[in-house]
Symmetry: C2
Subunit: 198 residues, 2 copies
DNA sequence: ACCTGAACACCGTTCAAGT
DNA sequence: ACCTGAACACCGTTCAAGT
């Protein structure tokens, strides 16, 4: 005799996301998620294959949300600048700051996205590609379509490396971290827009 | 009546390191370590406070080993170049490649060092500082003592970000990763050595 | 068709009891 | 002084049994 479903994948992913934000990856247990959606943990396995698939869903949802934040940042850049939208270098700085702001606001989800544990699958590739679309548009304006991908990768590598160093405490000794970040991204934008390397 | 010690912290850390390399962080259990050193898991707690402290010791030992590899890389650079040692930019490229080579050879330990899990303490700060001493010397030659720290941080951020993107599969689509890395570090060296940003 | 209690095979960690 | 078995409080996951 059929029984009505008492939850859904969406609800499970939403609960998992909240728990990840609030108590961290280690606290994200199947039982905690189950309690959150009003069910016993074995029931979750009707909706997700295992905990790893749940993490994958959370990562993908996070990529989507990050994408929105980055889009917002470029919109803000357009509104602020002259009639035709801000210059690419300025946009790039705003995008980098939006990425870091997201990392600080949602550190656990940020880590899941950019430095997932060894055997955990990250977000769906298309989701991450989508998330950095705004960045790719900006680097295209900055260096042209030919080099835009490698420029976007360079910026992403630098920014994510900077942020993870920040998280692990590499900047504990000295200096204004905010300033170092702003300086770094400006410098990087200039280097990318400049003449080719020798 | 006293009983002779059947193991030591050093042996435990060595066993933990081997297990981490071979079966990953999830496989690094207290019982696996205990079995490796010929003891039962409760006995480990006479030598380390808990698993987290063991990870901390492994991270510190890893930092020391990485430091040696980076030193080797600069020595190689000196031997290869003209009588007086290679130019700074060339040294920087070699250091970056040595870092990446280490990451590929020992991915689990590399991750423990640069992107440790949220509540895990990384290596002892002095150990990491020591590890990148060769890098700091090189950036000093490249940009002078004033800006050497921020230059070293910029290079480290970019390289670690690049490598973690590589690990998470961000480069799956297209391009020679090796070439992109070499291109990036050369470009970065040029940008750092160049005129200040506008 | 979904939900559950019970069970299994693990974890890290503590502790009284042995030598 | 160190080592151990037993125990505790957890995990993720499976599965037969209920509705």
């Amino acid at each position: 005799m059929p029984t009505p479903a008492r939850t859904s994948v969406e609800e499970i992913v939403a609960a998992g996301t909240r728990i990840l934000d609030e108590v961290g990856l280690a606290g994200l247990t199947m039982q905690a998620v189950a309690a959150h959606v009003g069910v016993r943990s074995p029931s979750l396995y009707k909706r997700v294959r295992d905990r790893d698939e749940l993490l994958h869903h959370i990562a993908t949802a996070t990529a989507r949300e990050l994408g929105e934040r980055l889009d917002d940042a470029t919109v803000a850049a357009s509104a602020t600048g002259s009639s035709e939208g801000a210059e690419p270098a300025e946009r790039l700085v705003r995008l980098a700051h939006a990425l870091r702001a997201f990392a600080h606001a949602r550190p656990e989800r940020y880590r899941l996205l950019f430095t997932p544990p060894a055997n955990t699958l990250g977000p769906a590739p298309e989701a991450l590609t989508d998330a950095v679309r705004a960045l790719l548009e900006t680097t295209t304006r900055l260096v042209g379509p030919e080099d835009s991908l490698s420029a976007a990768r360079t910026v992403t590598a630098w920014a994510t490396g900077f942020i993870s160093m920040e998280f692990t405490g590499a900047f504990r000794l000295g200096g204004d971290v905010e300033e170092a970040y702003t300086y770094g991204i400006s410098r990087l934008a200039a280097a990318l827009a400049g003449p080719p390397a020798t």
